[in-house]
């Protein structure tokens, strides 16, 4: 019997719409599980399926993410490249202190604003 056990937990993602206290519409992409090389559809696919017009503020929610490796970080960078091209501003919330450090080390903080909570991100808008 072949053994094809997958030990990376599947990445789940869903999208919802928020409004900041100042009345700005924000599209939230919420991830759950691991963000690794197997997460392309959940990360980039979900982002690319968003309506092309009208989305200017993106919030990436990592609160329920357990594990991010360098391949997962590369997917986030690809998302940031596309968001920059579309003139969108990106916030990342809910990262553990360790992944805040890692995202800072690789320079993601130059292209996305990291905040501890969604409320802090929305308050900046």
């Amino acid at each position: 019997m072949g053994d094809h056990t997958i030990v990376q937990s599947e990445t789940k993602s869903h999208v919802d719409q928020l409004t900041s206290p100042a009345g700005q519409p924000v599209t939230a992409l919420r991830f759950e599980g691991d963000i690794a090389s197997t997460s392309k559809v959940a990360v980039l696919g979900t982002y690319q399926a968003l309506p092309k017009n009208g989305v200017k503020l993106i919030l990436l929610d990592f609160t329920k993410v357990d594990y991010i490796n360098s391949s997962g970080i590369a997917l986030i960078i690809q998302l940031l490249i596309e968001a920059k091209g579309a003139g969108q501003k990106v916030f990342a919330v809910g990262l553990s202190p360790h992944f805040v450090k890692v995202f800072t080390m690789v320079g993601i903080t130059k292209y996305a604003t990291l905040t501890a909570t969604q409320a802090e991100a929305l308050a900046e808008l």
């Binding site: 997958i6 030990v7 990376q8 690794a36 090389s37 197997t38 594990y67 490796n69 360098s70 391949s71 970080i73 590369a74 997917l75 960078i77 690809q78 940031l80 490249i81 920059k84 553990s96 202190p97 360790h98 890692v102 080390m105 690789v106 320079g107 993601i108 130059k110 292209y111």
Partner: protein
């Protein structure tokens, strides 16, 4: 006469993505036993994950007939980890990733694993075996480094 005691634990992983988590779990357990603070344990877990991913993907080229060896050697004040694969090792160290070049499409968004390894542990060295059929990365994390 005092003698430095070293405790060794070995794990063998299949060359299949995702199994780096087994090494991360072992590293976490050993580092806890040695008294490392939680933030250093997280650094170690990420560094070991990246070393194992490199070994699985590049060293063993995802060949499931080959395994990745992970040897943990705990001394009184440090933990050394060797991640061993059947590859030839690296010819040269990759350049430090540049986020601005990545954002401009001038550099592959990937390729940050080795940078993270070097940034997160106290020592990291890549060693090619003399027979051309094995290589390892050696990582050291020290208890007295509170960075």
């Amino acid at each position: 006469m005092s003698e430095t005691k070293t405790t060794t634990v070995e794990v063998r992983l299949p060359s299949r993505m995702g199994y780096e988590k087994v090494a991360m779990g072992t590293a976490s357990a050993m580092a806890k036993l040695l008294g490392f603070p939680p933030e250093r344990i997280e650094d170690l877990k990420t560094a070991i994950a990246e070393a194992c991913i490199n070994a699985i993907e590049h060293g063993n080229r995802l060949n499931e007939k080959l395994s990745v060896g992970v040897v943990f050697s705990a001394g009184p004040h440090e933990l050394e980890v060797k991640v061993i694969d059947d590859g030839k090792g690296m010819k040269k160290q990759p350049e430090k990733p540049d986020i601005d070049r990545k954002m401009l499409g001038e550099e592959d968004p990937r390729g940050m694993g080795m940078f993270l390894i070097q940034a997160l542990v106290d020592e990291a060295e890549w060693v090619a075996g003399t027979d051309g059929n094995s290589s390892y990365v050696r990582l050291v994390i020290r208890l007295d480094n509170d960075s």
